[in-house]
Every structure is written in structure tokens, then in C-alpha cells.
Subunit: 300 residues, 2 copies
Amino acid sequence: MDAVLIDWGTTNFRAWLVDARGQVLERLSAPMGIRQVPGGDFAAALDGLIGPWRARTPRPAAILSGMIGSRQGWLEAPYVACPAGLADLVAAVTAVPGVPDAVIVPGLSFAGDGRHDVLRGEETQIFGSLGGLAEGTGLMCLPGTHSKWAETRSGRLSEFRTSMTGEVFAALSDHTILGALMSAERRDDAAGFAAGLQRARKDGGLLHHLFSVRTEGLFATVPETGLRSYLSGLLIGHEIIEMHRLYPDAGTIQVIGEAGLAALYGRAFAHFGLAHRLVESERASVAGLLAIRDVLARET
Amino acid sequence: MDAVLIDWGTTNFRAWLVDARGQVLERLSAPMGIRQVPGGDFAAALDGLIGPWRARTPRPAAILSGMIGSRQGWLEAPYVACPAGLADLVAAVTAVPGVPDAVIVPGLSFAGDGRHDVLRGEETQIFGSLGGLAEGTGLMCLPGTHSKWAETRSGRLSEFRTSMTGEVFAALSDHTILGALMSAERRDDAAGFAAGLQRARKDGGLLHHLFSVRTEGLFATVPETGLRSYLSGLLIGHEIIEMHRLYPDAGTIQVIGEAGLAALYGRAFAHFGLAHRLVESERASVAGLLAIRDVLARET
């Protein structure tokens, strides 16, 4: 039976209509994140976006994931604690009141070693990418505003960590003296990016390295047009070095992201000589949501 | 003979009228940083600020330091390269055209180990604090928007490093999701600050630790009122740990800063069990500028 798979995040809404065999029949993407929904009327927004798909007979189930299930979203779907497998996630889906055959997938939390972490939305990509790992065991990197690093064992997510790389990049670019020095918008200048990655391996720490954006510009060791890429390389380099240190035997790391960002991280992994494989995030989302749909379908 | 000692920074102007023996006769502080000078007319601004002092007979010399000597200031006083002593600094002062008996003290630069660094204004505080070090050898920490860590040997500044701690704190507080979680303006909540320092010692790196501001709030392990202090402790902790790692045998570290900020750093040093001594930055500025005045006076 058909189903509508939905990734409803803070700034974007994405949906896929799939058939019983999991083929994507139609796709939809709209700048209608949970913050953009007029008056917080999520029911009306959902109906406006995928009403035509859902008007069919029989009506396809709707599986929602992402920040829509957060405190700021439609209704809170409480976090499922790690270690957790797909079955734990499915067992905790929350029905949406007033919307038949619609459920929200919960996010995941980790508590241990004196630390807490949370994610919401990435769980579908993580479980959707298990097929690429031998026996479901391995390390995944999901770059973004808040990058997630997830360790899976035998098909279960054992633990994960967040790195605020993307948001820190934006805040430093837009709201410190460093941004004023950057003459280019692009962050894919190869030489600047590589210079940032190299700096990240040096001593002194990130707060010290950040000032080198200024001095590399001042002493023209990186051209102004490469400084934004240099800062990007610096931050991504720090993220990868610190995270890989925790999982030195990770083997081939799966990098799951939107094509451009995944490629940027891919270059950083290659620079550090780390085995990796790129996975397109849309593909991972659909695969994960489909797996959830399949378990739900078996149960009913 | 009297002299006017000036620290003219980006956002503030400070001046001290001293007598021949180095006693401070009068002091002046104004929110007239180089960015606030109307039309960039520094001559008029200086005359307005310290004209009455300079109208005396004989006219006191004026010694200017800080960002006034930068490319964005009155005129550029080129950096003096480290290692450098007070004599090198004095030999490189720049006369101010059209203003008799007025000179600008240059900043310092460091190049080596594949890195560059620069400072301007802190050189007076560094040389003004040498008296606190045995044989002029030791490590100094000057916390601020851009913290400076300076290593001196036999009275000469051998090398230094910048840590963008203060500016990163402001950018993250004001322009990321972390700021939205903070219910208090104060950053001196003792428990929150200590929790941030503790986190800084853990693995995962700064970009990962930053997300803990969110999760500590979410799981209420640090109260909302303590989150700003937690972020402050996290950043200051990272700065100190990374810098101290480079100088493990530093001995007693001199912390030179405005009283409140120096005390905050002092608590962090104490938390990490590092020997330190607090030096009030105004006292250090005056001592350094006086030492420069004395060398200049001997030369003329």
C-alpha cells in the first residue's frame, strides 16, 4: 500500500509518496519548516502540502519525522533512549490526534559517561543507511548545522555525539571580525579549505586557530577569496579530528548528507586519509522511513 | 618631567597624567575608541581629551599605544617582530606628524612554526608586568575579546598566541540557539561556571561540548540561570587547557586583566590547580608606558 514519508524540519518540509514496493512515485519539497507554519496550524499546513496524495482511496499512511515531533513542533514525541534499534523507534511512534493513519517518529537520546545528547530527524537517515555497514556495525557522520556522529552495533544505534560545526561557522562568519575579512561567499576554495584542515591538526586548540583566519589574511598566506573556505576547513577539520579520535578503529565511515556538504566533508576525510563512503541524505531518509513503514505495516 | 600615557583602543580611550617619578596625577577614561572618533579626526579628538594637560609649560610628552597605531587608526606603526624587548619597542616608536612630542608605540608580531600572530596594546601590559617574574621569565595570560598568552624570557617577549575566547563567547551567546536558552545575563554563576570548566576537560572537542549547553539545559543538569556561566566556563576552560598544554612548566602564570574578568580567569586557574597571580591591567598599562617613557627620556 502507498505511504507518505515526511521529513519535517525546522526550516524545510520534504515528503515522498511511495508505493508498496518502496518506489518513490512523487516527491515534494517546500520552505515550510515548523517555524514557518502560519499560526502553528500544522494540520492545515500538512493538508495543504500533501492533501492531494492523502485524498486517495485507500488513504496512504503518513509517517512524519524530524523537528515536527519536538516541543516546538506539532506534538512532542518523547525521545527513545539509546542503545536503540528500529523496532524501539517504531514501538514509540506517536499517533497524531485528528489525523487518521498519521504517526510521528520520535527522536533519540543518549545518556552516559556524564553527558547527554539528542537528535531528531537523523534517526531515519541512520537506520536507512545500515545496509552499507557490515553486520550493521560502524560509524556514521551526518554533517550539518548540528553534525551528528553515530556509532551502530549490530543494527542498533549504541551512541552518538553532536558537533555544532555548521551553526558555529555561520555565527563566526556573520558576527565576528573574521567575517569582515572574507571577500568571497563560496566555501569550496580548494587551497583555502586544505589550509584550514592543516591548521586544525596543529596545537593550540580551536579558539587559538580561529585567530589565524585573521593572521593568514593579514600576512596574505591565504588570499581573501579563500578565507571563508579556510574557516570552513578549520571547523570541519576540528570536528573530524576530535570525533575520529574517539573511534580510531571505525573503519570506513559513512558520510550522510546533502550532496554538496557531503562532498566537502568527503574532501576533508580524504585529506586526513580516512576511509569513507558518501551517502545522499534524501536516499537515506527515504530508506529509513520505508523501513519504519514496513514494520508498522506488518504490525497492523 | 610630566608625561601623558595613553591606551587608545578600538572602543575605549584611557589616559594617565604622570609626574617625573611616575606617580599618577590624573586619569581619564572615555568611550572614544578609534571607531568612535568623529570623521577620523584623531588630532582633534586627542586635543579635546587631553588638551588641558598638554597646555602646560613645559608640555608633557604624549605616548600613545593600542589600536590607534593600526591600519584603522591614526597612522600605522608597523609591528615589531618577536623576540623583542622594551628597547626594540622604543626604537620603533612612530612620531605623530603635526603633534609635537607625541609618539605611537608599535604592536608586536610573531612568525614561526608555520604560524603568525599579532597584538597591539597588550605589549605595554606585558612589559609593565615583567617585574612580577623571576628574571623576567614566565608566562602571562591577558584575557579579553582576544586573549593573549605571552611567553617572556629574560625580559624579552619570545612568543605569544591569541585565543578568540571573548569574541566567540559573544557571537555564540547572541547568534546561536545557545543564547535563546540562557535566562540570565550574568556569567559568574559559580556552579554553572565550574560545570563548564569540568566539561572542557572531557573528550570530543569544543564543537561537541558547545552542544552540551543545550543538553545540560534540556535535562536540567545545569539550571537555565547558570547556562551563560556554563558557556563561559566551557570556553575559558578550553582556552586555558590548550594554552597550558604548550607551556606545562610555566610555573606561576600572571593573569593580567580588568578586575572582574581577571577574577573569573583566576577561578578557572584555581579549578585546574594552576599557580597564578592576578595583575590589574590598568596598573600594568601604566607601568609599561612609564618604562617606555623612561627609555625615551634617557635618549633625548
